[in-house]
Symmetry: D2
Subunit: 281 residues, 4 copies
């Protein structure tokens, strides 16, 4: 039997879990894994369910669920588990995060489709194409920024993209672009936010003499470096390491954090709740 | 409205979540947090639900659930969230785990009742009584072991104990005693199991030159050091540390792991599934 | 043979290690463990040596070293290893860090003398006295602050204190006091600096939706929350934890980080180099 | 001025550090970083020194050191820091560790030369050659094993190899081969040794229900899975992960641990002391 992933957000009230399970039962489905959490401050109900169903059609299962759930006006997502999320990766020159994502996908660790990689530089073309993935060069200057972003929107639409991943993409996206894709753009910030926002965080970290450096994967919002956090991790450093050493060591934790975040998002485990996320890990 | 914690294990089949939510709905209850997992190898359905209910009586809520769930023959546990688990702590001479548990409970970090502490030595009496907890000395020799264990059974019954925690208790409990309390006896083993089973694990670890030491909290079964694992953690060590240093450093990770395990068990987050556990963290 | 700990800081030049080893050789001493690091930016030479010596008198060993080292004008510290550092602990109301330090010292994990604990409240008196340590109540108000600080200076002198540890002491020390004891006052900050400086860091962390919380032990300087960092660590948290939960979880990492920092300082492993520290771990 | 790395092991006695520093002073060298440790059980003195010297010839510096140190019969290694260690990497079919090493070297994170990669399969040829590194296929069957090992010895000699790294090489090297290169063959074992020795460790780990999986990099000795440990790390797992998931997750920690170990070895930070290692991290 095919497996499905359902996620659902709505205002909390009595009866939602019952309605979901009634919809699933009506379609003969069996729940395999379910996680539910209600944010007490926002009163927002969040649920993720993995189930198997003899009804081999998303539309039919969805119809059964809609019938039960319509009165909650939910923000609902449903897909077959093997219909992978489509991820557009953006990169500038540092390729370590990109290389890691492509390598893990090739290895079958990261269950996503990558229909296209976009960069404002040509540096990563060979790497991307060696994986058989189309590489699109979209240069960005002050003057061409709106056009570049329009190109990006077109690519998102053409390739039916679910998630945009900024794998060390050094251009700032416009507020409008961010606002159009809430909870669908993932960035890796090379510091343990909210420490060391802004430029050259490893040099800031070295100057401050920290004993741990970190990285943060977050959804992108108009407010740079302030988007809802998806995943964070750290790595121990010592006095003997220079700022350049921290940059090197940092790559490892950036790679690790971004790939974990993309995996979580690709498995529909991350639900946006205001300025925070619920992560059903 | 009072909050309740429900846990449930049974053979997996279609309709269990629906039946649970129907029972809750019937009693006007609202689910606040729910986690479900079906072990694919054992076909065992596991669920934990935290809900609030206007029905301020465990019995009434339970009756509503039983009506819906009887056909699944579930192993079901239901309690008001503020009816804390009753924990009997056992200790021999090393008091660091015991001290940590008592301190955290006093601080309000660990929501358990500790009606009594039992030891085969007198060493920890002052510590225990300083917290206002009764201390019972039950000496154990080869000859008195059965009587000692009978005394322990009596204490479990008298004090309505839910969970026995072995906080560095150095006597081996009989197979019969372990078998009578499956998933209700928690032990801390001073190594990262399954490495270094048996005696003097830190000395074994030092001889082997490991770079991390660890501790393991597990349910106790007849097969010593092989019970289902609840929680584990590690701590970095170096060549410069002697075996005695590892013993010292190890205390910290033992304390941390045991207190986390007790917290998880006290919140009904740990469900026994054969030789493993499901931990709804 | 008794063991000694030597630390030394001076402007870097050729021949310092040779001079140290010549001085030690002259007194028949044998080096057991040595770590040296020269800060490339400050050009500051830092060294820590543990050695055994048949000369059972600090003064004689020191004389031998001084003869060789005078020309480097070093900042030199020498003591018998078993002449423990004398630590004055300050606390306000939260006693978890204090309790941990006293417990570890009693256990023999933390090789320090604690001649006195000072607090601006009475809350911790019983705890401190239960360890046989004198407790001195020094209340602080806006009006009495200078007098209170004078009292503190007197206590430091009377008790021959090496290090002051602020174990959740909530009063700010004056710039003058801090300046008089550089590298000798250790504070625990309940966040992973430089994130969440200032008040209620766990509530800030919760609002920001971080996935790890942390704590930072640092030397105190006039610039609050900006002193040289000694040790840091983190702990994973999830969306399901409230701000109050973070406060509870945070206690554990605060305790751990502060006790590690005090241990490092007590073993003369931390050398101050400008705004950073060298930690010979 | 060029930098040098010196390591030295010998039976402990008085005067070694003094003799080293005398030798360095005689050649006008300046110590930048020094770490020394004497194993108390073996009485083995271990030292690593990084220094700069105006004498731009290893032979001259070495002569100066030899003059001072001959009487200690040390096991001494001296090289210019920029004369990178030459690493022969061996692999079978799983390429994640190999890919990581090659990628980090290309990035300049791992300062080693890789003159050749050897495999008993053809699978990794394209990957290796894409980095411009020669790939040598040395098939191994029961019958050809001695010949294959002779080929390996020839490659080690031809390419002046310092260290052999087994990056998931699934053939067992003969005792004789291991004995000829003590402390020069590094293996990655896909478990947290000494737990789960032998085959399919992740499946063993899953069956045992562990909450952390790990990896261990160690020197290879005749006693398989028992060689001196260089580095270890762990990764948290949950009940929801299958044995296959653990295999996937494990790759990440294997990569990380092996690359850290190779970096430590390549920087001459790992000294073999009997069945253990001293790691000057």
């Amino acid at each position: 039997m095919p497996e499905y992933i359902l996620t659902l957000r709505c205002a909390d009230t009595v009866g939602i879990v019952h309605a979901v399970s009634a919809g699933l039962l009506a379609s003969g489905s069996n729940i395999l894994e379910q996680a539910q959490f209600t944010d007490p401050e926002l009163g927002m109900f969040c649920l993720r369910t993995r189930f198997e169903s003899p009804v081999d059609a998303v539309d039919d299962v969805r119809a059964a669920l809609d019938a039960e759930l319509a009165r909650f006006s939910p923000d609902l997502s449903l897909r077959r588990r093997d219909a992978h999320r489509r991820v557009l990766v953006m990169v500038s020159r540092f390729d370590h995060c990109l290389a890691d994502l492509l390598y893990r996908r090739a290895l079958g660790e990261l269950h996503v489709d990558v229909p296209v990689v976009v960069s404002n530089h040509e540096d990563c073309r060979a790497l991307v194409e060696s994986y058989g993935v189309p590489f699109v060069h979209v240069p960005v200057t002050a003057g061409t920024k709106p056009a570049a972003e329009q190109r990006l929107r077109d690519l998102v639409r053409e390739h039916d993209v679910d998630v945009v991943v900024l794998a060390r993409y050094m251009q700032v996206l416009s507020d409008a672009f961010c606002a159009d894709m809430p909870g669908r753009i993932v960035n890796i910030h090379h510091s343990f936010l909210p420490g060391f926002k802004g430029a050259r965080p490893y040099h800031q970290a070295h100057e401050r003499g920290v004993k741990l450096i970190g990285a943060t994967a977050h959804f992108v919002t108009a407010d740079l470096d302030e988007g809802p956090i998806i995943e964070q991790d750290v790595q121990r450093v010592t006095h003997a390491q220079t700022a350049d050493d921290l940059v090197e060591l940092g790559r490892d934790v950036e790679r690790r954090v971004l790939s974990r975040a993309v995996r979580l998002v690709a498995e529909d485990r991350v639900l946006l709740t205001g300025a925070r996320t619920v992560v059903f890990g």
